[in-house]
């Protein structure tokens, strides 16, 4: 897959950074505005899906290898569970919001562990969604290659 024309490639490489920035914004402000880890993660994944459409799979594979992607996926999940366990260690109970005394509401630092969980969820969702789409898009190619050989 060689990708699309120069126009699409240029625009998508311009826009990709902005999409990632927007995804980070949605994740970080998940506790203040609509959005959150899941929505932001989907946006992050969609930026790479756009790159995959514009530049082809090989390019994205170089940019974000599958092994790294699946590691990020696991890391997000472990981080989320660890935040929950930290609540057990430092607070009263599992998933306890042990940082909740910091900050004032309607500020960025205001909800204790919720933004941290959002970041972990964003990482997990972004990585795994991209993984799903990438792997599903390679399925057919593998089989057709097999037949040719």
């Amino acid at each position: 897959m060689k990708g699309m024309t120069v126009i699409v490639k240029t625009i998508s490489s311009w826009v990709k950074v902005l999409i990632i920035l927007f995804g980070i914004y949605i994740i970080l402000f998940g506790h203040l505005t609509p959005g959150g880890g899941f929505a932001g993660g989907v946006i992050l994944a969609s930026s790479y899906v756009m790159l995959m459409l514009a530049f082809g799979r090989e390019f994205v594979q170089k940019d974000l290898p599958l092994s790294l992607d699946s590691k990020l996926d696991c890391l997000g999940a472990v981080a989320f569970a660890m935040i929950a366990v930290l609540g057990y260690v430092f607070g009263k109970s599992f998933f306890d919001n042990f940082l909740s005394q910091f900050g004032r509401h309607l500020r960025l630092i205001s909800s204790g562990t919720i933004p941290l969980s959002n970041i972990a969820i964003g990482l997990k969702v972004g990585a795994s969604l991209f993984l799903v789409i990438f792997i599903l898009s390679t399925f057919r190619r593998d089989s057709s290659d097999d037949k040719q050989e």
């Binding site: 024309t5 120069v6 126009i7 490639k9 240029t10 625009i11 490489s13 311009w14 990709k16 950074v17 902005l18 990632i20 920035l21 927007f22 980070i24 914004y25 970080l28 402000f29 790159l51 940019d63 500020r107 960025l108 630092i109």
Partner: protein, 167 residues
Amino acid sequence: MRRSIYLVLTFIIWILLTWPFADGTVDLQVVVAGIIASAFVAIIFHDILPKEHHVFVSPIRIFWFLVYVPVFFYYVTKANFDVVYRALHPQMPIKPGIVKIKTNLKSDSAITALANSITLTPGTLTVDLTEDGYLYIHWINVKSDDVEQATCLIAQRFEWFIKKIFE
């Protein structure tokens, strides 16, 4: 160099997204988060950005860009009225077709800007482009199917500015 340019760019966009000056003061948390986020994006993802980053630091190019904006809007408005005229005219004086034009622009961003300018102008639409600098344009009212002449009519007016901006 490239990283710092993109850091500033993304930071500006972050400020526009979040707007931390709402109640008279500056919300430092948001600004710091913005710096971290833009630094993160700029450092990790800079390599995929296009190479024409010098546009943002050259005052002359920015000046030409600022000039280009009203010119472009003038052409767009004119073309709008032209299309409205053709659409509302009882006999529909249109002659649709695809013409081929040639461009001398070399860099990717410049070609993209030209193609998008042509697409944004009502009546013309970039369909495809080839490696050796030819663009296929769908035109609502084909005045000439000669490459040179069509280039004159469609692309020349933008190309000059875009050359000033990008090359």
